[in-house]
Structures are given as structure tokens and as C-alpha cells.
């Protein structure tokens, strides 16, 4: 019985012998798209395995929509997992793979057949479904894993690098699919390295490194909390140095850096609202010819850089 609409981690730690998986992680994730971001080996896969009930935490409690792996029938029905690992049982066709996993959920054959068709249609693998998986291309194997994870209509979908190996159109289609599913009220937990794609659809971001949670929440909210790095705006104009000197006379502009192509300037400011007000004024004066204005670091990539940086990666 689903009780609640959140995925909750309470002070969860997972150790593999002496090796750290994750340490003291507390999360509460509402419906929608949550992206899980972090270097390789940071604990993302551990987190996903914990969420899908494949491993048990060394300490702490996990509840997904009020369910725990203690009641497996309910739990696994509501959770779908699309892993990053590219191995399949030998000799299966695409259809077998999806159909069999549905049967494992205890469905009847007719029902499973219907749902399998639906899932395969959704990922666009209906024609290739009766070929053996061993003959699939990398992108097709990715899609069949996705089909398997959505086939039983779970409430929670955990996706580990789901766009890996997909060509640009398939990526766009998958992202559109994820957005659609999240609008239906599902929980989607997506882990990805391609941050700008992730930014397009996600509502919240979870940053993890070295097994520790570094940040969690809406991207803009997280960004504004990173106080030691003031907001940065990129302004493309014809006289960037003039614009920079004007902005500097106002005391909340703390840093100006010319773009390498000479037609823009990055300005950092501690007071973003004041900044825009003044910028509008300068633009009206006609002092410089402004071409474009955009926040330069209000995205996941910037947050990643500030909070995790280069040393966060396993070297």
C-alpha cells in the first residue's frame, strides 16, 4: 500500500566491507524529475541500488512511497530500474526480456503481453523485438533496458545513464518520454554526466561525491545558496570593456572577465536584482549595443564545478 509520495532516506550509510558506498545520506524526494550528479565512483550507483532495494543499507532507513523491500511484492511493483550495465541473460530476444520480467511480477500472460507491446512501442523497438539481444546495437540495448524498466508501470523509475549510446534523436525522444512520465506524477531519478541535457527536464538535483551528499534541491535554489561564488552573468555587446567599467563603479559588481572572443564580458555580482535594474538603465542610455544577456552559471554544470570541482573525481 503506497503511503506517501516521497522517497525518503534517513541517515543511510552503506559500506562494502571497508569500502565506502555512501555515508550518512538523508534525502526526501518528491515526485518529478530528480537528477543525480557526481563523478564516477561517487556513490551514485550505490544510491540507486539502495533505492531500488537491491542492497540493504548498513545503517539508516529507506522508504520509497512508504514501502520498503521488506514487502517485496508491493515494493518491486512500484519501482523500475534501468541500469547502466550492458549485460543480458544469454539467448533472449528483446521481446522475451521484457515479457519474462513482466511475468516475474506475477501477471498473467495476456496482461504481460499487452504491457510488453506497449513498452516496446514506447521506446520504438517493436520491429526489432523478435531479434536476439546479442545482435542489437548499443543504442538498441539501451532502449530495451528502458522498456523493461517502464513496462510494469512503476511509480518510481530509477535510470542510470539512460541516454548512453543513443543518437541525438533518440536522446530527445527519451527526454520527452521522461518529461511526460514525470507530468503523470511519477518519481524519476536520473543519473547522467551530460549536464545540459539533464538541466532541460529536471526539477531537482542531487549532487554526490566521495559517498557524501553535497547538495540537494532545485537548481536555482542550490545555486543561490552557494554564497562564496557570486552569480555570474554573460553579456554580449560591442564594447564589453566599457560596460565592465560602468558596472564596476557600482559597488556590488565584484568581478569582470572579458570573453575570449572579445565580444562579451562575464560579470559577477552579489546583488543580482540591483544588477539587472542597473543594466536595464545602461542599455536604455545606448552606451553600448547589447546583443545578448544570460546567466552564465545558473545551471547544474556550474554547481558541479563549484561544489565538486576537478578533485572530486576518482583519479
Amino acid at each position: 500500500m503506497i503511503a506517501g509520495d516521497r522517497i525518503v532516506f534517513e541517515d543511510v550509510s552503506k559500506f562494502y566491507g571497508e569500502v565506502l558506498g555512501v555515508n550518512r545520506v538523508s534525502l526526501s524526494l518528491p515526485p518529478g524529475v530528480t537528477t543525480l550528479v557526481g563523478p564516477n565512483g561517487s556513490g551514485k550507483t550505490t544510491l540507486m541500488n539502495l533505492m531500488t532495494g537491491l542492497v540493504q543499507p548498513s545503517s539508516g532507513r529507506i522508504s520509497v512511497l512508504g514501502l520498503t523491500p521488506g514487502d517485496p511484492n508491493e515494493f518491486f511493483r512500484e519501482v523500475g530500474y534501468c541500469t547502466q550495465f550492458d549485460s543480458f541473460p544469454r539467448g533472449l530476444t528483446g521481446w522475451d526480456f521484457v515479457f519474462d520480467s513482466l511475468l516475474l511480477h506475477g501477471m498473467g500472460s495476456a496482461n504481460a503481453s499487452k504491457l510488453a507491446c506497449e513498452a516496446l512501442e514506447r521506446v520504438g523497438l517493436m520491429e526489432a523485438a523478435h531479434r536476439k539481444i546479442a545482435g542489437y546495437s548499443k543504442g538498441m540495448r539501451q532502449k530495451i533496458r528502458l522498456a523493461q524498466s517502464i513496462a510494469h508501470h512503476p511509480q518510481v523509475l530509477v535510470l542510470d545513464e539512460p541516454l548512453n549510446g543513443l543518437d541525438p534523436m533518440a536522446r530527445a525522444e527519451s527526454l520527452a518520454l521522461f518529461e511526460e512520465l514525470s507530468r503523470l506524477g511519477m518519481h524519476l531519478i536520473i543519473s547522467s554526466h551530460i549536464l545540459d541535457e539533464v538541466d532541460r527536464i529536471s526539477d531537482r538535483v542531487v549532487l554526490i561525491t566521495g559517498g557524501y551528499l553535497v547538495a540537494e534541491g532545485n537548481i536555482h535554489a542550490v545555486r543561490s545558496e552557494v554564497r562564496d561564488k557570486p552569480m555570474q552573468v554573460l553579456i554580449r555587446c560591442d564594447r564589453p570593456e566599457l560596460l565592465a567599467s560602468r558596472m564596476f563603479t557600482l559597488n556590488h559588481c565584484v568581478e569582470a572577465r572579458l570573453h575570449s572572443d572579445g565580444h562579451g564580458v562575464f560579470l559577477r555580482t552579489t546583488d543580482i536584482d540591483e544588477f539587472y535594474r542597473l543594466l536595464n538603465g545602461i542599455a536604455t542610455e545606448g552606451l553600448v549595443n547589447i546583443e545578448a544577456v544570460a546567466p552564465a552559471d545558473d545551471d547544474t554544470h556550474a554547481i558541479y564545478q563549484y561544489l565538486i570541482g576537478s578533485e572530486g573525481g576518482a583519479s
Binding site: 545482435g135 542489437y136 546495437s137 548499443k138
Partner: protein, 291 residues
Amino acid sequence: MSVFKHEYRAYEGRVTRRWERIGVLVRYGLAEAWSSRITVGLFTLAMLPVIADLVAIYLANNAVARMMVSTGGKFPLEIDAKFFLRVLSAQCWLALVVNAWVAPRLVSFDLADNALPILLSHPISRFGYVAGKFISLFSILSLVTWVPCLLLFGYQAYTAPQPWFGANIQVGLGLLGGSLVWIAIVALLGLALSSWVKWRMVATGVIFAAVFVPAGIGAVVTGILRTRWGFLLNVPVMMTEIWQRLLGAPPVMKPDLELPGMAITLVLLVAVAVCIALLNARIRAREVVRG
């Protein structure tokens, strides 16, 4: 003081000739083979019979020893073609053991992590690649077979009274020829089977099996059908025949079970062709990753 900037720089220097690349493969193959302690151990093992034979030759040619050991006027050990047949057989079978260990080492590391696309994207053809591996294996096996055998032969020729050498040149040539035939076949067999089997230990076993299992089948065939053609599957018997004939030693098999030379040659050539085909197929399959 200056600040030194290290950037990528193009290469303008000398480029080695194409055939020298095969030498690169040979060098690295040899380094790989000898890096294992087991190779060293097997090699040492293979040298022990040589030492024993060396002592035997010394004793056989030493007048004092002859006097001491003579029983009833006849010295038990005679250094002739039959003796060298035994030496050659022993060394060749030991070479098989060395081959079964070394051949998988040469091949499976390249296949285990899919190195062939990168390897063959260099200016080395499939033939050059196999030739390089073959030559390194061949040289190791040579050190176990004809090199020590010819040294023994040379020593015998030196210590024995002069007419011995003149009368037994065929033995020397037979040692060389018999070794070359054998190591060429097992080297190819070793490379081909190693390329088809994923794990090195299993490859070692398969190489032995490829030599001895057909022998067992052949023995059964010979026994049941009472024909000598069963021996065509029996590599040990066939090789012994070949060596015996090359060395000019007295026949080993009963006359009605002897096989014609042509038949043996044909079977061995077929085996070699099959090995080459296997290698070619395997490399073609692995040089490009599909999908």
C-alpha cells in the same frame, strides 16, 4: 630563467621500415613470454634431459668410462641414430609443453581486452601480426629443440672418432629438419587454438588435447578396424615415423603398420591449413567491433 611550455609537437624524425615492425612484435612477444616465471621453469625443465644426454655422450666416448662400465665386453650405450631419435623425441615433447604455456600468453592478452582494433589500425597487416607472434614462439621453441640437439650432435661429432661424423651427417640434418617441422606445426596450432579459447589455462589444456585426443581416437580405430590408417590421427606416432625416417634410425613400427610418407605429409599440411584458417577467421572477427 625561462618558462618551458610543453605542448604537443609533431614527429619529424626517422620512420622504421615496414618489415621492422614485425621485429617489434617479435620483441614484445618474447618479452611477454619470458616475463613469466613458469616459462623460465619449463625451459629449465626442458634443459635437464639435455644435460643428462650430454653426460651420456661424454661417458660413451670416454675410454676410462667405457672400461669401467663395460659388462661382458659390450658398452650398453651406443650413440647412434636411435639415441638421437630418443633425444629429439624428448625435446620435441617438452617443446609441446612449453608451447602450451607460452602460446596462450602471446595471444590471449591481445584478445582479452579487445586490443586488435588498435593494434591493427597501425601499419601492420594481419599477416604481419601473426608472423610476429609466430616468430617469437618459433624462436623459443627452437631454443628447446634443434639448438640443444645440434649442440649435442656437435659435441658427439667432436668427441667421437672421426668416421662417426661422416657416417652420421643425416642424423644432424634430421635433427634440424625434424625439429623445424614439429615446432612449425605446434606453434601454429598453439596460436590458432589460443585465439579461439578465452581463458589461458583452458587454452593450455586444449592444446594438449588437440594433440592427444585424436591419438586416442586413432588408436581405437586402429584396434577395432585393424587398419593402419587409424594412425593418421595419431600425432605422436606420425611424428615418430617422420623423425625416424629423417634421422635414418631403424624403424619403430611393425612393417604392416607403417604409414606412407605422403599420407603423413598430407595430414600435417591439412592440419596446418586448418590452423591458419582458424587464425584468419578469428582475427577478422575481432579486428572490428560491430554495433
